[in-house]
Symmetry: D2
Subunit: 346 residues, 4 copies
């Protein structure tokens, strides 16, 4: 049994970790951390867990946690994990950080985009970016995993093969992303009230969203040179789901079959990435509640561009599910353990 | 391995059966029946099953099915199961009917409310009403299970103990029910279009809904005399979930503790019925995707009535989940096999 | 031109007042009160008013307001209006209070249900309950109007005629109400976040909601004796709309035509109350954005009960629209001025 | 009084025409055309119009209509208007066609994209594209107005000024559009059922949507040369609203103020186009129910692109509202008559 501690267990990503880990045959949650609800029954906050979770919420005691847990998930605001982690912790336990603290290798880029001083830049080199399909081998031996952001997971998996194979010009990449509202977190803000989100769609963080450099960094590795791109997220009136629609100019004349072959080459052995059949557009409803990413593309010969699309559940593959996938890799489990549930529809 | 055939696999209840059975360790679906989509890939209709289900849809050949399947689920319109079932079928396989054909013992009541001639009244006596928490023992030996309706499941489980114990006057029972839209099925009707359902609530079938006699029959067994009641369903703009709010006059002065003790007596050993803590109202979000029914009550001393509430997922405990629970009972499986997933939130 | 001041102009009811008054040919808003946003552009808070409203938000200075406004709308939390109003104010201006401060004639009932000390009980006798269809004449000469609550408006209009005419037994009345989320206000609370409300339905305030005594008081006037009833509100995932489904036992044998004649007698000359055709159930989508209340009923001979239904827009007839209707009556305007817009669908 | 006939009065755009024209002081609807519901009460189909519209639905008799109506709105499927219009009709009445039949000047482009033979190409030259803010003067004298598509209205108004002024390279334009579900019409299709649309987002018509050539044609006029672009629509779970997010490369170094000045130059005298303040992103909720288009932009110096955004109500400015605006221009009315209602929120 892998003993698991969660810091931030009452946020939406934390709640999803609990849901997934309850179905994992080799994991046991030993610490439901939630500073806001210390000593309250976890199931009184997440009533879906009534009679399934008996524990109370606990404070964020990283030292105690490191002694009790084989792995700690930090599903917390930016900056917190970096402020808590240290050599003593990492020598005793694994850390999978769902925040952005260890996703960007360049501390200056982090500090510019997040407007925060990084509290533990000494671990940036060591931290492994936990995009399992790309970095599987490095993940296996890591102590500290930077669990990817929701938009970067969906964007990178959808675009990466075509950049890596040189089929598209990275300088022309534009990503138009749409997310359900759970991505905005459980904080009580007027902007996230039901009546403000329902019957509405808006862009936000235009040309300034903090997931931009994360996507750029990953695609830069694929391109072998720095990539700068446009990324525009939108808030959609639904609970879960991310859809990205990405555009780029083709570098050469290619057929549907050419491009399909490349996607298949990268993903045909990947359980969680499904390359859809021709002309089937990814839809968030077909992945809800699951760890799948559905990807597809369409060539537009009129403009010589390819439109790349990806859909996933932002709380699963975009957060808690990928975190569990990383845990499975870290502990030598079957990578899909606890993550095989089919998408729920409708 | 239990070999399972599904007739009506592309309706919402049929799709949910597929989702649940994929997670069942001892069941294998051998027949995806769907007259509308014969020979088409099942996963091309329910794209969530892409790469999970490879089979094509098949026609409704009950004879062939009886040879291949240990159990047949009929998730079909009223009248179909009754027209297909016969002694030859039942001697070879089990049938779990998700339609209303075998729920009412009195053929006249069926024909009055459903405006259909019953094609197989000779099996009404034999059929067992598959409300597992009430009829567990009879279910185990049955050949033909009448899987309960969604509203009757939620209503009966919420009200049954207080009727049975004589705490409420059955003549005063009023059930005001609210359902998500998946209950209306996947047929293409203007009334069920997104723009017609969204931003709307309405009552329908007022004083005439066909689940009324089904609830009345079950509560009559509890009361030991005929029960006539009001049942009013409402359509709510959400995919899943049923909430019932029921009212009845108390027959004697009782305390919270008295009533709570009765609910506990009936349900404390029931995994799928959760009696909530004092003053916690059932909400559909806390049971979504799961087989749980959450029930609770509130005494109003001003009017001497008790308000009984129940929430469940109409596609799980209200249809496919209970059908699987029945299958587990029929085949001697752990009753909760394939049904232990925690509710999904948000 | 009627000069209008609004206190609480940035709540949902306040915003709706602004929307309606912009379309009123004889009214001009001179004061957009909002303590939370003093000196900020009103249109920066309610961006729908960009280029339509140029004013800034102002503080709650009742004295200054009384000098500048012919009528003051208080769309504020319970207790505020009572704490601000006094003889000096009422001698200079009219007050239409959208809170509950002056709706209940018995100060003790107010203090019991609202858990507040009433700051101005001396005006309770004078205040007129502004349910226009019932109290039209008294409203015309009033200084202080208690604008009815949303649930009480819909409930009373749906039930009043049958109580008044003695057709139903008031002791058997049960009201099961469903409301869109704008009724919960614009305060930033976790419970009202998009992901908490969406895909969910729940009862709240069971046997304890503060609109209960308000409905009881109005129906007591109709009954000529005290009425005690059950009222259960539910929160529905939609922005606007209230539907009430009410149940009561008939006191005598009546036909559809008998009951219809009574509703017609009360409402056939009322522009804003529409008695629907036989078997047409009220739906909130058919009244959205308008001041209409749609009512209808169904007799259930099996139980000898009548089911009464009413639908309206909680922000219009349930708040701002009725407030404007009251203003029209106070100032001798056409009662429907500014309120003739057809419902918006879809 | 302008006598108005509507063909297709029971579709969503037709219903919206009725709503708007009821509030128009100089228009009267004399013909509610709806082939599907001939002789049925219009208000029995659109129950919001109960007691507001007394008329029955009528068949599509264009000859009779031309005698009775000063203007005919055709809110009908592609091809129908072209098949009905002729010189005799146009010599007697004005026609405002809400379908695509007369939007594209090149009959071959129409037939390629719409897969239809055009039945009246002889009127293509004469027809005026009714984008009021661009073609106001030509509209005034027209007999036949091609009312613009929803996506083209929002896209063209958002992008046109920067193309016209040469600030962006037209070859780089990418439009990512998002629409509410009323845009899909009222036909009973499985894909548009509540449970299929709710909790989902998807792209559709990728690189093949029929509004593409319409946008290209309009922007070509601005560019003075053919424009080819990418246009990707998405279906959003909400009733109303279109948001477009458009991307293009800047042709020179410009400041925020430079670009703002250009938008202001085109729109500061336009009542229905609102150029928002700096950094305020258009949102569909702020225009719902109104004829406004809210536009804004953001320069991204990192990529040298500008992101242009526009939001409007697809049924108002994107269909019925613009049609009424065109009618006002045709008949010398105040252009905003019947269209001054403020957006409804929430």
């Amino acid at each position: 049994m892998i003993k698991v501690g969660i810091i931030g267990a009452t946020g939406y990503a934390g709640g999803e970790l609990v849901r997934l880990l309850l179905g994992h045959k080799d994991a046991e949650i030993v610490w439901y951390g939630s500073r806001s609800y210390v000593d309250q029954k976890y199931a009184s906050i997440y009533q879906n867990m009534f009679q399934l979770v008996d524990a109370n919420c606990m404070d964020d005691n990283m030292e105690a946690l490191a002694d009790q847990a084989d792995v700690i998930f930090t599903a917390t605001p930016q900056g917190l994990c970096a402020s808590l982690v240290n050599e003593g912790i990492l020598s005793r336990t694994k850390v999978i950080d769902l925040s952005a603290d260890f996703r960007l290798k360049d501390v200056k880029v982090y500090e510019d985009w997040y407007k925060l001083k990084h509290a533990a830049p000494q671990f940036l080199d060591e931290a492994v970016y936990g995009l399992c399909e790309i970095n599987r081998d490095s993940i296996k031996g890591a102590r500290l995993i930077a669990n990817p952001g929701c938009y970067p997971t969906c964007s990178t998996l959808s675009i990466y093969p075509l950049v890596k194979e040189g089929l598209i010009d990275p300088a022309t990449i534009i990503i138009d992303a749409k997310s359900g509202t759970s991505g905005a977190g459980r904080g009580a803000k007027t902007d996230n009230l039901y009546c403000e989100v329902n019957e509405n769609i808006k862009a936000y963080g235009v040309a300034s969203h903090r997931h931009t450099p994360e996507i750029e960094e990953q695609l830069s590795y694929a391109a072998g040179k720095p990539v700068v791109l446009n990324f525009t997220p939108h808030l959609v009136p639904m609970n879960r789901g991310i859809l990205i629609t990405a555009y780029a100019s083709l570098t050469k004349k290619v057929s549907y079959e050419d491009v399909k072959a490349i996607y298949d080459q990268y993903y045909e052995d990947e359980y969680f990435v499904r390359v859809l059949d021709k002309d089937i557009c990814p839809q968030t409803r077909w992945v809800e509640g699951s760890n799948f990413v559905d990807v597809n593309f369409k060539i537009d010969p009129r403009t010589n561009r390819v439109i790349m699309m990806g859909a996933m559940d932002n709380l699963v593959k975009g957060a808690a599910g990928q975190a569990v996938q990383n845990m499975n890799l870290l502990f030598g489990e079957d990578e899909a353990e606890g993550l095989r549930m089919a998408p729920i529809f409708p």
